[in-house]
């Protein structure tokens, strides 16, 4: 049943002031490393220098004896031996084997950072080196070193090594018959390298653990409820015994939805009886948190002279690090999701290697698959002499189309996005020498999940809202705006706070582009609960039927012609008599917010290629995306721009480079280069609004889709500029130059 109802908005849609802006530009905002506690210790982690090694022994005695060292831990300090969380624990602290360069093997808490570092040098680890594999192609080959024996998923086809942990396939129709109907069939192999989310703030936390077994954790995270649940499970605690408070967050993009240092800090706090601060260095972040997958992808696509895609096939291998992955699902499903195809088949494989456990990164799995699929569409269109945008419009999925992964689409805005691209001046602008233009469409599912919101009427008539999701993309503003809209009051009268895990029920992390959708939905219903309570109380006060009490423009009015109470009451007046009418007034809503609407975007990129060096410049870039309803357009545009920039980095610069010894060679921002403002033009944006029927205001999540098309849009632009199909990302200058020289 649709929750959406068309309405005229007063607050929603305005570009209002962000509530965290002053704190962030003045340094008052408190991030993960900004917290201190009395008697606090500093922790450091000892990490494996080997890609794969058996840990014969760890001697911590000398480190523990160093004056000022208050605790040393190894895996022996964690009793968890099996179950759902064992991979998470193993990623945080190695067991009998170090599985990748940077894998934690021990940790120390001392009275100073200097002493903690000194203690690490006193820990003696006896390793037995084992064969390693970091390359995806080598990892799937029979005979490859196997990372974990016995975890091969059911249904994995024969002919691969035991590092292939999962196989999934989707589709419908008869692709062989479809290829027979094609006038052109293109077939290529594509590769993408692993990247990092590149959040500016490293992981950081402060842990305390009392003798009564109750703990507190201050942490930079996308989901403090999830962190609580994971840490409690790993440490054998009840969730209620651990209160987690989320700091401000300097970026996450999916990489801070899991634990990597938090259980270590808690274990050190428990062992030392002191508060413990643990802050990762950039080197540790790149070596030992969760980068993205790398991929190996084969795509075959048939198109007829009219531009209709007659068949599409993709085989996608996703390198997920040293543990079972899941991203192949999210590559195989979205690859051809923007198109209504009669014959389509996709296959996804998750593959283990001796690399850190991969983590989510905005639409995890979708950008590489989109790159391969959209490159194939581009190539087929060009071979047939067709306009690549017109081809996409011809094949675009619409409301009622059967998606390539199964379900039939409800209303969405892909066609509107493509039409907006067609009409945008960018699409027809002239190009200079050595320049090319590319276009790509992208898709993401979006997600809702468990959500709690509480709202309260304060004695002065203002509204306080508590929610349980760290604010990554401006959610405190958006939630306040939706509550203000619903209550008919100014935005400035509402303040939203991110509450700790002891103050609210379970909340999913800030992931899946869910917060404005799901928390917004719960906030609107919390506001409606306040209004209902006010009407109930005033009906008693005015001695009229509740239907005679109406709420309009921030005031309650009586419509009963026989009542003498004609003067409307605003929130301040209602609050003033709250104690007399039953006590404080609040509203809350707890929901599993299913019904997140899918999201589509279309990107246009202009690139210039230096034929002497292979260096690529982005000259112009436009993002067009369906937001359902943009609550605060500045924030929506920020998401579209940020996603595009991260995708451009993935396409051009960013790459995990491993040596033959299996060690990461570029674990710093000098050698792992993310785009900076001076590298890029202004990213232009167009917000399309096709309401999501699953939200009262029509909201769709917008955070993930904008990273899906850039890889393909930029690669198609560079291909147009060079005449060389770009099949390996990133398109670093040496790689592009080699292609030009081989032409």
């Amino acid at each position: 049943m649709s929750q959406y109802k068309a309405r005229k908005f007063n607050v929603v849609g305005q570009r209002l002031q962000r509530p965290d802006g002053i704190d962030k530009v003045t340094g008052r905002a408190r991030y993960g490393a900004d917290m201190d506690a009395a008697g606090m210790l500093h922790a450091k982690v000892l990490r494996s220098p080997h890609a794969h090694a058996r840990i014969i022994s760890i001697d911590t005695s000398a480190a523990a004896a160093l004056p000022g060292v208050m605790a040393v831990i190894t895996r022996a300090d964690f009793p968890l031996a099996s179950g759902e969380y064992i991979d998470l624990l193993d990623h945080c602290m190695a067991g009998d084997r170090a599985l990748y360069d940077g894998h934690a093997v021990a940790a120390v808490a001392a009275t100073s950072k200097r002493l903690a570092k000194q203690a690490l040098k006193l820990i003696k680890v006896d390793y037995e080196l084992l064969p390693h594999v970091t390359d995806i192609e080598a990892a799937i080959a029979p005979g490859a070193p196997v990372i974990h024996a016995g975890v091969v998923g059911r249904g994995v086809p024969k002919g691969y090594s035991d590092n292939v942990t999962r196989f999934r396939s989707f589709g419908h129709g008869d692709i062989e018959a479809g290829f027979q109907q094609a006038d052109v069939v293109v077939e290529r192999t594509y590769r993408t390298e692993a990247t990092h989310q590149g959040y500016i703030e490293p992981h950081a936390c402060v842990a305390t653990m009392g003798m009564d077994g109750r703990g507190d954790l201050w942490v930079c995270t996308q989901g403090h409820f999830a962190i609580r649940n994971m840490c409690a499970a790993i440490l054998g605690m009840e969730s209620a015994s651990l209160r987690v408070t989320a700091s401000e967050i300097g970026g996450g993009f999916g990489g801070k939805t899991t634990v990597c240092i938090e259980p270590l800090a808690l274990a050190l706090a428990k062992k030392s009886g002191r508060a413990v601060k643990l802050v990762m260095t950039r080197d540790e972040v790149l070596r030992a948190t969760g980068p993205t997958v790398s991929t190996l992808m084969h795509v075959k696509l048939g198109m007829n002279q009219a531009g209709r895609i007659t068949a599409a096939y993709a085989q996608l291998f996703y390198q997920s690090g040293a543990y079972r992955g899941y991203a192949a699902d999210f590559g195989a499903m979205p690859a051809f999701a923007p198109y209504a195809l009669e014959n389509v088949h996709t296959e996804g494989f998750d593959v283990m290697t001796n690399r850190p456990k991969s983590a989510a990164y905005r639409a995890p799995g979708a950008p590489p698959a989109c790159y391969a699929a959209e490159s194939a569409i581009d190539e087929a269109a060009h071979q047939l002499g067709l306009d690549p945008l017109a081809v996409r419009l011809l094949n675009a999925a619409r409301e009622g189309s059967k998606s390539s992964y199964g379900p039939t689409y409800a209303a969405h805005g892909l066609v509107e996005c493509l039409q907006a691209a067609q009409q945008h001046p960018h699409w027809r602008a002239p190009l200079g020498e050595n320049m090319g233009r590319g276009i790509a469409a992208g898709f993401w599912f979006n997600f809702g999940g468990d959500t709690c919101v509480s709202a309260f009427l304060n004695p002065d008539g203002s509204i306080s809202v508590s929610e349980g999701n760290p604010d990554i993309g401006g959610s405190r503003a958006s939630i306040s705006m939706m509550v203000a809209e619903e209550m008919g009051i100014p935005y400035e009268q509402v303040r939203t706070t991110v509450a700790d895990t002891g103050s609210m029920g379970q909340n999913e992390p800030t992931h899946g582009s869910r917060v404005t959708f799901a928390v917004g939905l719960a906030a609107i219903k919390s506001a409606r609960a306040i209004i209902a309570e006010i009407r109930h109380r005033l009906a008693q006060l005015w001695e009229v039927d509740i239907d005679s009490v109406v709420w309009q423009q921030g005031c309650a009015s009586c419509t009963d012609p026989n009542s003498e109470h004609k003067a409307p009451m605003d929130l301040r007046q209602v609050a003033a008599i709250a104690s007399n009418t039953g006590g404080p007034i609040g509203g809350h809503h707890e929901v599993n917010a299913e019904g997140a609407g899918v999201s589509f975007g279309v990107h246009i990129a202009d690139t210039e290629v230096d034929p002497q060096t292979g260096h690529i410049s982005i000259k112009r870039y436009t993002v067009i995306q369906d937001a359902g309803k943009a609550i605060q357009p500045d924030y929506v545009e920020g998401q579209l721009q940020g996603g595009a920039v991260q995708g451009i980095g993935w396409a051009l610069n960013e790459e995990y480079i491993y040596g033959e010894d299996g060690r990461l060679q570029n674990s710093g921002f000098l050698d792992y280069r993310i785009p900076v403002a001076s590298d890029l033009p202004m990213i232009d944006t167009v917000i399309v609004e096709v309401p999501n029927p699953g939200h009262p205001y029509g909201v769709r999540g917008v955070g993930e889709t904008p990273i899906v098309p850039p890889l393909a849009a930029v690669a198609n632009a560079v291909t147009a500029a060079t005449g060389v199909r770009q099949v390996h990302l990133p398109m670093s200058p040496p790689r592009v130059l080699a292609g030009l020289q081989a032409k």
Partner: protein, 81 residues
């Protein structure tokens, strides 16, 4: 009876059928009766799946209704980053 579509690589757990029929009126009944009717799929269901009901992806809301003519599609568990 609701008609339930199975994604390709899961079909081997359902006797290689692309579509099955079950008498279910909501998600909870579907999640309960799937492994009863097809015991081989019990592990997949226990690990977590998503279900698209009339185009709307549902993860956990047991009481989401399924009408006799609803389109029901079994999917891998959907989340995000």
């Amino acid at each position: 009876m609701a008609s339930i579509q199975i994604f390709t690589s899961l079909q081997y757990l359902f006797n290689n059928q692309t579509e099955i029929e079950l008498d279910v009126a909501n998600l909870q009944q579907l999640l309960t009766r799937l492994p009863q009717a097809y015991p081989q799929c019990a592990q997949e269901v226990a690990n977590g799946i998503s279900v698209a009901i009339d185009g709307r992806i549902v993860n956990d809301a047991w009481f989401t209704p399924i009408e006799p003519n609803s389109e029901v599609v079994i999917l891998p568990r959907i989340s995000g980053g």
